[in-house]
Symmetry: C2
Subunit: 599 residues, 2 copies
C-alpha cells in the first residue's frame, strides 16, 4: 500500500503563489500567520497525517466501530490519535483566543483538514463534526453557552455533532418530527430519534455536545417551525462541570459501504435536557452556518480522496511493468515497461492530477472567501466574498465529490484486478468517498441550491459577481499570447454560461421543472468552467515563475502540461453537458411514474 | 430491500420483437426451441433467480467465503443452490446432446445468465466459469478429453476454471512463468502459482477442472510459447472415475471490495498432473475461444447490475416521499410527493432504464451472432457474424461494464444516505459490479483490442461490416418521417465514426501512441453509437406495435419515451468524447514520468 503524503508543496503553490495568502493574512490582521509559521504548522500537520492517521486507516476500515448496548468503541488507535490531536492543539487552531483558541485563520485549519481526511477519512470526521458544532455555537450561542460548551470543544476534551436527519426526512427537513417541550426553568425536554449522526457516540471525548433540530409545541409546520438546541450527552452544571447522564442514547450504528471507522449513529432522545440556541423557529437559519461550512468540508473530503487515489495509482503505474511502450522499449533492463508509458494509463493519472490540483485551487479559494466573510473589515469586501461563497459552496461540495468518484475509480482501474483487493488500499478510498455525494445534501440538492436558490433567486446577480472576476482576469492577460487560446476558451464558456442561465430562466418561468431538469448538468458545467479558470491562472503563474528563472522548472512545467491536459480533455466535457441541458425537461417528465418498469 | 425480478418481458421484446429469435432458431435448426419452450424455460429461470439466488445474495456478501488450510467453504445456501441448478438441468442447456447436453442455443442460456447474475453476481460466477471451461474443451479437446471431462462438466457434477493470471502478469500474458515438464506417459507435470482464479476452490462440486496456461521447457519466449493444459483437482482414470488428489492446492483467497461470495483463489501447482489441450505453444489461441465468450459474459454481468440497480432505485423513488413537485402537489394525501416527481431523480432512473434496455439489445444481439458463428450452415453468414462479433466483443465487454458503474452509482444516489447502508442492497451492487471493468481484460485492454487489433488490424474492414448494417437499416426507414431526426443522428454519427477512425489511423502511422491516446474514449463513443442504433430500431418496432393496435400501449410508449431520452441526453455524450479523441496524444505523453508528483 502506498504511504499517504501530505501535499505540502502543492498547497503552498495555491495559497502563496496563486492566491496571495501572505498578503491576505496580513490584511485580515492575522499578524502571527507569517509564512514561516504557516510552513512550520504545515510540517507538523503533515507528520500527524502521515505518521499517526495514515497507519490506522486500513485497520480502522477492517475493524470498524463496535456497538454494544449504547456504547460505541472506535477502531484500535483512533482514541489515541485523537488524544495526540488534542495535545497538538489542532482543535483550537482557528478559534478565537477568548475561548481558548489560537486565533489563526479558518483557511489554515481547513487546508490541513484535507490532509487529515486524505490520510484517514473516517477518523477525520470526528474532529470535523466538532468544528461544525463550534461554528454554530460561535455564530448563535449566548455568552454563557459559549463559556460552558465552546471552550471545552475548542480545547478538544468534548466533541460535537449536528443532528438533522430523521428516518423519514433527509433532504426535506420541513418534515422533521423531533419535539422539544419547554421545562419550567427555561430549558427544554427533547424527544425523538435522529439517524445518520456521525460521531454521535464514541469513546474519544469526555462529553458529546449534540446540536439538534426539533420543533416547539406551537411551532408552525414546515421549515419555519424548526428550532435549534444543545443537547449534551452528559448534563453540565453552571460551572461547566459534568454532572449526570442526559437521556440521550445511541440506539445502533449503521453498517455501511465505507467510512467504517466513523460511527454513524441512531440517537434516541427521551425527554433529554435541551437548551435553545438562537431564536425559536429560526433553527434552520442558524443551521445554515454549519451547513455551508460542512459543505465546503465535504468538498474537501472529496479532494482528499482524489489526492490519495492519485498518489496510490501513480506509485503503482511507475512500479508495475506490463507490455512494452508502442513507441519502443523504455525500460530495457526490465521484462516490460512500467505501465505509466501507456497513454491510457496516463489519461487516468492526468485526470486525477488535473482534478487534484484544480479542485484544490477552487477549495482553497473558497476557504479564502470564508476568511474574508469572517474577518474582513471592509463591508464591501465582505459582501462580495459572501456572494461568491454562496455561489461556489454548492459547486465545491458537489463537483469535488462527484469528480472524486471518478478519480478513486481510476485509482482502482490503474491497478487492474489488484485494485479490487483490499490490501492495496484503493478500493477503500472508493468506498469511503462514495458517501460524499450523498451526505450534507446530495448532488441533486446542491444543484437545485445553485441554480434555483442562488442563481435564479438572485436574478443572476450571484453568478455575475463571479463571472465578472473571471472576465476581469482574462482581460489582464490579453497580452500573453501564449495563453490566448485557453483564455478565449474560458471567456467563451463564461458567455455560454450566462446565456444558458438566461435561457433556463426563461423556460423555467413557464415550467419550473426546467430547473431540476438542467440542474446537475448545469452544476457540473459550472464546476468545469470554474476549475478551468483556476487552471488558466495557475498556468500563468507557472510561466511567470519559469520566466523569472525558478529553480523548480520541473514543478512549473508540470503545471503547464497539466493545464494543457485540462483544457484539451476535461474542459471539453462541457460539450455534452450543454447538449443535455439544452434538451429541456420533456425527455424527463413525459413518462408516467407507473410505466418505468413493465417487466 | 427490493426483490429482484427477472426482466422476462423486456428480454422477450429484444429476442422476439427486435431480433426475430423465433425465425433465427428455426433457421439454425433448433427445431425444439419454439416460442412456447423458450417462454417455459424463461419462466423457470425467473423462478430460480428470484426464489433461490436472490435470497442468498446479501447473506453471501455478509458471510463471504471462508478459507481454512486449502479448503474453501462458500456462503450458506450457495452449495444447495448449485445442487438445485444441477437438478434443474441448467448447466447442460446449450451443450451438444452427444455430451449429455440439451442441444439448445447459446443465446438462450446466456440471456438467462443475465438474470442469475442480476440476482446474485457472486453465485453466478461458479457456473459461469464452468461454461468457459466447457467451451474451451468443446473447441479444442480431443474426443477422449471430451468424454472424460466435458460430460461431467455438462452434467454439473464437476466445475471448471480458467487459470491465466500470475502475480506479475495479468494483461501481459507473454510474461507468464508457470512450467509444464513432459512426463514419460505423454502427460505433463505442471508447476507454478496462479492468482485471481475465480471458483478455483469451493465446496459445490465433486471435482474442479482447471484449464491452465503454462510453458513447455523448450517454449519460445512471449505469447508464442504458451500452451494450454487440463489440470484436475482430483486425478481421473481412463473411465472418468476420480482416483486420488492431484498436487493442486488453494493457497489463499483474496479479500475483495465485493463479489465476496465468489472464491478468488491463489492456486499452487506442484508438479501437478496435466494434460495438453490443442497444439503445443498455441495455448493463447485456444484461450481466445474462452476469452471472447467470457468477455460477452462479463458485459452481461454489467447489464445485470444495471437491471438490479434500476429495479432497486425505481422502487425507492416511487415509495420515498420528500418535497413537493415544483409544478404542484402530486400526492395530496401524503406529507410530500414521491421523489420520482423530481426531474433529477428521473434523469438518474431514465439513465438506468435507457442502459438497461439499450445494453440488453446489444448484448442479446451479440449472443445471436455467437449462435450464427457456431451453428449457421452458411459460410458467408458465419463470416459476417464473426466479423461483427470480433468488433462488438470489446464494446459489449467494456461499455456494458463501464456504464454499470454509473447505473449502480445512481442506484445508491437515488436513495440518498440510505444508499450507503448495507441493508438496502444498493451498495453491494456497486461493489460487486466494480470488478467488471477490470477482470477479463480491463477497459483499457478492450479499447486497444477494439481500435488497434480489430479495427486498424483489419484496415477498417471490421468496422465497415457493422456500419454497413446500420446504414442499410437507416435507409429502410427513410419514409418514416417520425424517425428521421434520430435516424439522421445515427447516420451522421456513423460518418463521424468512420472519419475519426481514418484520422486516427493516419496519425497513428506516425505515432503509435495516438491509438492508446484515443482508445478508451473511442470505445465509449462506439458504444454510445451502437446502443443508439439499437434504440432507433427498438423505437421503430415499438411504433409499429402501437400502429398495429397492441394491447400493451404503455409498454411500447415507454420504449419511445426512453428512446427520446437516449437521443437527447445520452447519445450526445459523444460530443465530449470526440473533443477528447481529437485532442491527440501530446497532452498525455509530454510529461516526464518522474514529474507527475512533486509534493
Amino acid at each position: 500500500m502506498q504511504n499517504f503524503k501530505a501535499p505540502q508543496r502543492d498547497t503552498l503553490f495555491v495559497t502563496n503563489e496563486l492566491l496571495g495568502f501572505e498578503e491576505h493574512y496580513q490584511r485580515l490582521g492575522f499578524e502571527d500567520a507569517t509564512d514561516d509559521l504557516v510552513k512550520a504548522i504545515y510540517s507538523e500537520a503533515a507528520k500527524f497525517a502521515e505518521n499517526v492517521l495514515a497507519p490506522i486507516n486500513a485497520t480502522g476500515d477492517e475493524e470498524g466501530c463496535q456497538f454494544n448496548d449504547g456504547v460505541v468503541t472506535t477502531p484500535t488507535g483512533f482514541k489515541e490519535a485523537y488524544k495526540q490531536y488534542v495535545e497538538g492543539g489542532w482543535p483550537s487552531m482557528s478559534h478565537p483566543v477568548e475561548f481558548g483558541g489560537q486565533g489563526l485563520p479558518y483557511s489554515l485549519a481547513t487546508s490541513m483538514a484535507e490532509w487529515f481526511s486524505g490520510a484517514n477519512h473516517s477518523w477525520a470526521m470526528y474532529p470535523g463534526l466538532s468544528q461544525g458544532c463550534m461554528e454554530t455555537l460561535k455564530a448563535h450561542g449566548t455568552p454563557e453557552q459559549k463559556k460552558i460548551y465552546l471552550e471545552k470543544l475548542v480545547e478538544g476534551s468534548w466533541t460535537g455533532t449536528m443532528c438533522l436527519t430523521e428516518s423519514h426526512c433527509g433532504s426535506d427537513l420541513g418534515m422533521l418530527k423531533c419535539k422539544a417541550e419547554p421545562a419550567e426553568d427555561g430549558t427544554y425536554k427533547l424527544t425523538g430519534t435522529k439517524i445518520f449522526i456521525s460521531a454521535g457516540e464514541h469513546d474519544m471525548s469526555d462529553n458529546i455536545v449534540h446540536i439538534v433540530l426539533a420543533r416547539l409545541p406551537d411551532a408552525p409546520a414546515g421549515t419555519r417551525g424548526i428550532s435549534l438546541f444543545i443537547v449534551p450527552k452528559f448534563n453540565v452544571d453552571a460551572d461547566g462541570n459534568i454532572t449526570d447522564r442526559n437521556a440521550v442514547k445511541c440506539g445502533s450504528i449503521e453498517h455501511k459501504m465505507g467510512i467504517k471507522g466513523s460511527a454513524t449513529c441512531v440517537i434516541n432522545f427521551d425527554a433529554a435536557n435541551a437548551i435553545l440556541i438562537g431564536e425559536p423557529n429560526r433553527g434552520l437559519n442558524c443551521m445554515f452556518v454549519f451547513m455551508n461550512m460542512a459543505r465546503i468540508g465535504t468538498g474537501v473530503e472529496g479532494l482528499s480522496a482524489t489526492e490519495a487515489a492519485f498518489q496510490g495509482a501513480l506509485a503503482y503505474a511507475q512500479d508495475r511493468t506490463q507490455f512494452r511502450s508502442m513507441t519502443g522499449v523504455k525500460n530495457p533492463d526490465g521484462p516490460a515497461d512500467p505501465i505509466i508509458v501507456h497513454p491510457d494509463v496516463r489519461r487516468m493519472l492526468l485526470t486525477q492530477k488535473a482534478l487534484r490540483e484544480g479542485n484544490r485551487a477552487l477549495a482553497i479559494y473558497c476557504m479564502q472567501l470564508v476568511d474574508i466573510t469572517q474577518y474582513d473589515q471592509s463591508p464591501e469586501a465582505k459582501k462580495i466574498a459572501e456572494a461568491k461563497l454562496a455561489l461556489l459552496t454548492p459547486i465545491v461540495k458537489a463537483f469535488l465529490t462527484e469528480t472524486a468518484q471518478e478519480t478513486t475509480s481510476y485509482g482502482m482501474q490503474v491497478y487492474g484486478g489488484h485494485g479490487y483487493i483490499k490490501e492495496w488500499g484503493m478500493e477503500q478510498l472508493a468506498r469511503d468517498t462514495r458517501i460524499c455525494t450523498m451526505y450534507e445534501g446530495t448532488t441533486g440538492i446542491q444543484a437545485i441550491d445553485l441554480l434555483a436558490r442562488k442563481i435564479m433567486g438572485s436574478k443572476g446577480e450571484l453568478l455575475k459577481v463571479f463571472t465578472s472576476e473571471i472576465k476581469a482576469y482574462c482581460a489582464t492577460i490579453r497580452d500573453k499570447q501564449q495563453f490566448n487560446h485557453w483564455s478565449n476558451a474560458i471567456e467563451s464558456h463564461v458567455d455560454e454560461w450566462l446565456q444558458m442561465t438566461n435561457d433556463i430562466g426563461l423556460s423555467a418561468a413557464n415550467n419550473p421543472d426546467e430547473l431540476g431538469a438542467a440542474s446537475v448538468d448545469y452544476l457540473m458545467y459550472s464546476g468545469y468552467v470554474t476549475v478551468g479558470y483556476f487552471w488558466l491562472k495557475m498556468a500563468v503563474v507557472a510561466q511567470q515563475k519559469i520566466d523569472e528563472g525558478t529553480s523548480e522548472v520541473d514543478f512549473y512545467n508540470a503545471k503547464l502540461q497539466t493545464a494543457k491536459f485540462y483544457f484539451d480533455r476535461m474542459l471539453t466535457r462541457t460539450r455534452s453537458l450543454v447538449s443535455a441541458i439544452n434538451s429541456g425537461s420533456e425527455n424527463l417528465m413525459q413518462m408516467d411514474a407507473e410505466h418505468f418498469y413493465q417487466g
